[in-house]
Amino acid sequence: MSMRNVAIVGVGITRFGVREASWKDLVLEAGKSLFDDVPNLDKKDIDSLFVGAAQPERWIYQTHVAPLVAELLGIEVKRVIARTESACASGQLAIRYAWLSIATGLSDVALVVGVEKMNSKFLNISQSSMINVGNREFDGANGFTAPPFFAMVAQRHMHLYGTTEEQMAMVRVKNQEYGSQNPYAQFQKKVTVEQVLNSRMVAPPLKLFDCSAITDGAVALLLTSEERAREFTDTPVWILGGVQHVDAAHTTNQMGELADWVALRKAAKDLYDMLKITPDDIDIAEVHDCFTISEIIEYEELGFCKKGEGGKFIEEGESYIGGKVAVNPGGGLLANGHPLGATGTRQAWEIVMQFRGEVPKGRYVDGAELAIAHNLSGMAQLHHIMAYSVNKPRDIKFGR
């Protein structure tokens, strides 16, 4: 099947954090920011709308959110409209569907909005709702929110591969160094290994600074086909492809070894085969550092280092800009916070800003041409990767 090339041609973002703003306010802020970014955009150009939102029905008691966004931004949607949900990867899912819709010719110009409002007076509702992303009846019932699950992942990785709490802390140190140069990030102060190690224990061995936060934020992206990209920008960022993988696994019993993310390994191989690339070709990797241990395992399963050597990889500085691959040069989920539906779109925002050269020098990956964005959803069962480039896709065959 011949597919059309698709590019991101505009971006908008809100400040991430504990915001004195409603879900609707966040959508409006991100939407306005996008229209400011693309002066040539007439809202009548937009024919499709994809809204990535994980749990609005729990956190703002609102469903049917895609038409709500259409109303807020005054957009008449004539082709495809959908809200996408895949827990922590809901935002990337919205990009994926917009890409597919444009690639197949169903849509021409699509607006993607990733958004989540997680903070409220009733803060604990957020953690209480995270039990629903695992198997609620059999794991959720045992108190399985994200922190205890990833704590056990960390414990297994330490047990099998000798990874240390110091190495995990180093991930936070790196991501805060970049986050300190990101004015949209929730946390903008640099931290030391000692500060991470001495932060409050959440679920041992994970301390507070090993965890990404409960965050409010939104990102808007404009996607279109090659035919129309130049109407909106001189610097389109091309979508090269995307993969997902989940084994027939959702509950603990099907997860096997917690420290080995086999589904991510398979997804990465699938992406590299599809694009005929190797991990060495990747200049920027936006990865899902929901916890420090996650980024360490992602180094391994994405093939940046051997299995079990993720701790060594950060210790030797290989994931810093100038190392083997620049991982999370925007600060990742750890510095930006993790508003579930917005996270995947925030990664795409970061990659676009990097390719345009519109980030501060200290976190700029000079000369980058190929970037990937990885999300995991739930208890690391489901993995999603998309690849972006400054270069137009050539000879990429789908249905390989």
Partner: protein, 165 residues
């Protein structure tokens, strides 16, 4: 300027939203009925059980009504071996789900019972009266029955793990 002409009064107390109840799906009949109700009936009778496919022999957890391997609906209930091995654990100290907040800190663990994965299960469970520091991977644990009282008249059964001394 108008003064309020009409007043609405809301209930004095609004019940815990059902979605915050971790153990809700345990009724044998009505709209909440589950095809695996025997799992809960067996817990009430003191047994932690799961389903095994009579056709292909697959042992599954959670229990199902149809085998995910061969799609047979001829399943039998089997008892999960009482003693298992601690595979991973942590202690929930911050950010507990609302309904169990009062019990923090408590240990959350994953243990393997039987010969996992060929003929055994890897399941999660809570542990009480034990500290994170007192446990290590490989410790022997056994499942026990947990009685859950409330809200109101409700009485339900679940399981938890205990360290075998």
């Amino acid at each position: 300027m108008k003064k309020p002409k009409r007043k609405l009064t809301l209930p004095e107390k609004i019940d815990l939203p059902p979605l915050l109840d971790l153990w809700e799906q345990q009724d044998p009949s009505g709209p909440d009925a589950t095809g695996i109700y025997d799992f809960y009936r067996n817990l009430a009778e003191g047994e932690l059980t799961t389903t095994k496919c009579k056709s292909c022999g697959k042992l599954m957890f959670p229990p199902q009504i149809i085998c995910p391997n061969c799609y047979s609906d001829e399943l039998e209930w089997v008892r999960i071996p009482e003693e298992g091995e601690l595979y991973a654990f942590t202690e929930l100290r911050l950010g507990a789900p609302i309904i169990v907040e009062n019990y923090t800190p408590f240990v959350i663990a994953i243990a393997r019972f039987g010969n996992y994965p060929e003929n055994g299960v890897q399941i999660s469970g809570m542990m009480f009266d034990v500290k994170y520091e007192d446990l290590k991977i490989g410790d022997k644990v056994r499942w026990e029955i947990l009685e859950i009282e409330g809200p109101g008249e409700k009485k339900r059964y679940w399981y938890y793990f205990e360290k075998v001394e």
